[in-house]
Structure formats: C-alpha cells, structure tokens
Symmetry: C2
Subunit: 305 residues, 2 copies
C-alpha cells in the first residue's frame, strides 16, 4: 500500500471554462483508494485524457452546489455504468444535490452495475463524513455565496515501527507484536517489563491534505489547515481585485498564500483561476511573494506528498 | 447575408468520449443565424476552444434524450448567463427534456438575461419545428433505442434574380421589382405584357442539410435526404459489427454511405464514432468505397456548402 497522497488536477478553471482549463475537478489517491473532489463539466473527459482509471473510484466530495463544481456528475456516472464499474458511488454533498440529480439519474443512468448513494452533510458545521481503517475526511465550512465546505483528509495516527533486532532479542511472539505496534510494553516470561520505546520507533507522521474552494478570505480556518502537508486553496483573483473577490466571495492569490503561511503548511496549490486572466503568472508571483512553496494548478498536474 | 451553410463539429464521439472526441454537438450557421444540434457534455468548452462566439445562438435542436446528446445544456446555459447573452434560448426536443432540465435550470441558472423556452416535438412524426423568412427546419423520425429525430434544414424557395439590363430597358419602377422577383410579369404603360422570364433569371437553388444521428439503418429516409447539399449521418460501427449496430440501433459506415448514395446527396459527413476504434481510417475507407464524397467528422471540423 502506497503511503503517498497523490493529488491530480482535472480542472483548474472557475465559473467559465477556458480551452486549457476545465471547471473544478480533482482526484485524490490515498492508500490505493481514489476520491473525487468536485466534479465540473467534462471531468470524465479529462480523466480519459489523462488515462486515469476510475475503477477504484468510490467516494465523491462536492464542496458546493454551483454549476462549475458538480455538472459533470451525471455524465461521469453514465459513463461509469457503460464501462462496467461495479464499486458503489457515494456522493457527499449538501442535501439539495440528491433532489437535483435524481430525475436525471433515473432517466439517463439505468442499468448501472453499482448503486449511487447520497450522503448529505450539513455545510454549516464541521463533521466527519468519511472514515475507514486509515483515513478520516472532515468538512470545513467556508464562506461563499452558497453553503460551501472544504474537506480535510487526514491519516489516522499510524502504528509504531517495530525494531527487528529488539523483537528478535526478546524473542517476542508474533501474536504480541500487534499490541506492541500500538504502544504496549512487553513483559518477558521472567516478569521483566520492557518499555515500548526500547522495542519500537516513532511512527511516520500522519499526513493531512486540505481542500478549500470556493471561499472568501477566511482567516479563522488557519487552525484547521495547520501543518497540512498540502493545502489546495482557491485563488480566483489578483490582490488588485480584492473588492471583486469580496463581493463574489472568492479569494485573491495573496489571501490564499496568507492562509498557507499562517497555517504553516508544507506546500500550497492554488487554482480556480478566473478566466479573465490571459496568463496566471502574476497570480503565482503574488502568492509566492507571501508563501514561496506555491504551486499553480493546471489541468493534468499531479502532486505527490 | 452569407448564402453559405457552415457546419461545425464540436463533438464527433459517441456514448463514451475520447481524449480527442467529445460527445455529440454541432453548430450550423445559416443566413447569419446560429443553431446548435445536440449538446453533449463539454459543448461549451469546445466552443471556447474554437473561439466560436455563441452570441447569435438562439435555437437548439436535440435529436434524442440520451446523455451523450444533451448533458451539456445546463452548463452551456449557465455560462451564457454569465457572459451576458441576451437572445432567448429555444430548445426543440422530445417533451421529457423540460421536466428533466427544469429543476437544474431553476437551481443553477438564476438571473439569466434571457428566457429558456422549450418547444417539445413529437419524435414519432414529421413536422415543421422552426420557420423564419428564409429557412424551415423539419423533424425526421429515426430508429433508435429511444424516440429520436433527425433534422432537415431547408432554405425556402428563393426569389428570381432581376436582369439589370432588362429592368433598365423597360424602366421598371422600384416598387414593381419585388413582385417581379417573385415571378410576376410586367405590364408597360402601353399595356404590353413582358413575360417574367425575359426580366429575370432562375433563383439560386435552395440549400438543404440533413442531420441523422442516432439511428439504425433506415432506408425509408432516402426520399427525405434526397439531393441534400450535405448529409450528416452517424457511422458508429464498421460493417463487420453489423449485428452490434442492429442490436444497439446504430449504423455502420457502409449503411451511412448507402443512404447518401441512394439519396443522391452532394456530400456526406460521417461521425458519432464508437470509442472502440483506435483509428477511424477503416470507417472512412468503408464509407468511401460506397460513396466517395465522404468526410470524416472530427472535433473542430468546419464544412461550408
């Protein structure tokens, strides 16, 4: 099982697509599971282009119900149905989505080899919306024109690493090892207590990825993004458009970088660029002037961490 | 006013898009009016890519209600709303479409500067669904898994051309000329009847374009496509897949070419290619072996006639 997170940008544009920037859609691969974050129109086309197999896709997280973040869902599900997909598709979103999609699902997506299951969340509160053996996904309420949530993907605390030489030296039976990985001390047949820290090494740190789009500048999320290995934050506008950003509840590049800096994240990916900019270089420069480890999203970009 | 028809392929693929073939969508420009024929997912992206201005778009014709022919509508309308479009969008389709789109239109496409008007047609009968001063659009019922219509775009009979020398010789007043263009004779002040054919030349022939997708082989449409200046006919499969074509109610390249040949059309465009073919060369070769003037659709292709 790979320990890396792999984040793939399928669409780095915003409300209006451009020829080289589709609308918001991102894949996140964690522990061999594949998650989709937002699903703008043409998401399936981008996946085909990047030859990205969607076999393992199960859970989809929709940040908010604007057209550019969810209109690709029906086409995706329809095509998955035609390509023999069999994993259930579970959609996490604000509650209204089910009512909006259901008529089209019933009409266009008959005879699917899987179920489409809706998991509504309350976009106004923080909650755990997905959990498996190794990963937790939480919502992070943002500030946009409609109820919107970011998502925090966080590995659960990992087990300690056994030190093979010590395990051999104390001849520790296999059945004991699972508990020792969890931090338990070992007691020898003679009753001697061997402290766990002699037998194990610190586990690798748990990874954290935070996705924030779309949102106005929202400094109160800094504690939530804190120490993230990677933060995706929208940067629709340049700082010179602060007023427009405020009015439309979007962020500027400088604001995105400020969140990254104050949150002490390891790297920042900015995206959701307004179609008004012929080049995004000034946006990236602006963010880098605040937070140097900034990467600009572009369609097809893959980042591992 | 241009007398040419300009047909643009935005999507030449079929049910599953490929990296270079979006789903079905086509623009037809006639007499400075812009029509959209089918609207698969990503249609708006292709229009942006081709820098095709949609300002003049008013009428949309949807052949049938399969996902790959209509899922681009909401995204298109949403984006038109954001770009200040003000011409009403009138959608001609089978009746169910309105009920399928309405909830999403109401939710995602608020504050449009234009109305979205649905004109349902009965896909089982031939009828005139659009008419203006110079053009008529008629439905052409096809044979597919769901009710499906092709569309016939036909110029109305044109006016005769005045022969300037004769108009001068008989000193025909301007107010008489409109009637003479329509075929009326001229009576001089002395009461002499000047036959129309001495004053005018034959009008240019009226042009005709026929769109047939999706459909099983349907020889009974030959009289409807007869003498068309251009026929678009789907050619999803190769002849070696005749059984699959029959089962899925699609056509082979040979069948499409046979319709073109028997209908004595001037040129044939084939499209809607199955994603199973790595190259469409064999499909084109097969069609050309029956009907030499065959052109293969590809995304971005523009044909004037």
């Amino acid at each position: 099982m790979s320990n890396q997170f792999k984040f793939t940008v399928l669409g780095s544009g915003s409300a209006l697509p451009k020829k080289d920037r589709f609308q918001a859609a991102h894949l996140l691969e964690v522990h061999n599971k594949l998650f989709l974050i937002d699903c703008g129109e043409g998401m399936q086309i981008q996946a085909f282009r990047l030859k990205y197999s969607l076999n393992r896709l199960g859970h989809i997280f929709i940040s908010h119900l604007h057209a550019d973040h969810c209109l690709g869902l029906i086409g995706l599900i329809s095509s998955l149905g035609m390509t023999g997909h069999y994993t259930n598709i579970e959609i996490h979103s604000a509650p209204e989505l089910e009512k909006l999609l259901k008529p089209q699902l019933d009409f266009f997506c008959q005879e699917l080899g899987f179920e489409v299951i809706f998991h509504p969340f309350n976009p106004r509160k923080k909650e755990i919306i997905f959990e498996d053996r190794t990963l937790i996904v939480k919502t992070l309420p943002l500030k946009h024109r409609v109820p919107t949530c970011g998502f925090i993907f966080e590995e659960k605390p990992k087990e300690r690493h056994l030190i093979p030489e010590m395990i051999d030296a104390f001849n520790i039976p296999i059945k004991e090892r699972a508990l020792i990985k969890k931090g338990k001390d070992f007691i020898t047949e003679e009753g001697e207590i061997i402290e766990n820290k002699r037998l194990t090494k610190e586990p690798s740190p748990s990874k954290k990825f935070v996705y924030c789009s779309d949102t106005a500048f929202l400094p109160k999320i800094v504690p939530d993004v804190e120490n993230a290995d990677c933060l995706f934050h929208e940067a629709t506008f340049l700082e010179e458009e602060t007023l427009r950003a405020k009015k439309t509840y979007h962020s500027t590049a400088k604001q995105a970088a400020t969140i990254a800096l104050e949150g002490n994240v390891k790297k920042l990916i900015i995206g959701h660029f307004s179609s008004r900019y012929p080049s995004i270089d000034p946006i990236v420069d602006e963010a880098k002037s605040i937070f140097p480890y900034t990467i600009a999203a572009k369609d097809g970009l893959q980042i591992c961490f």
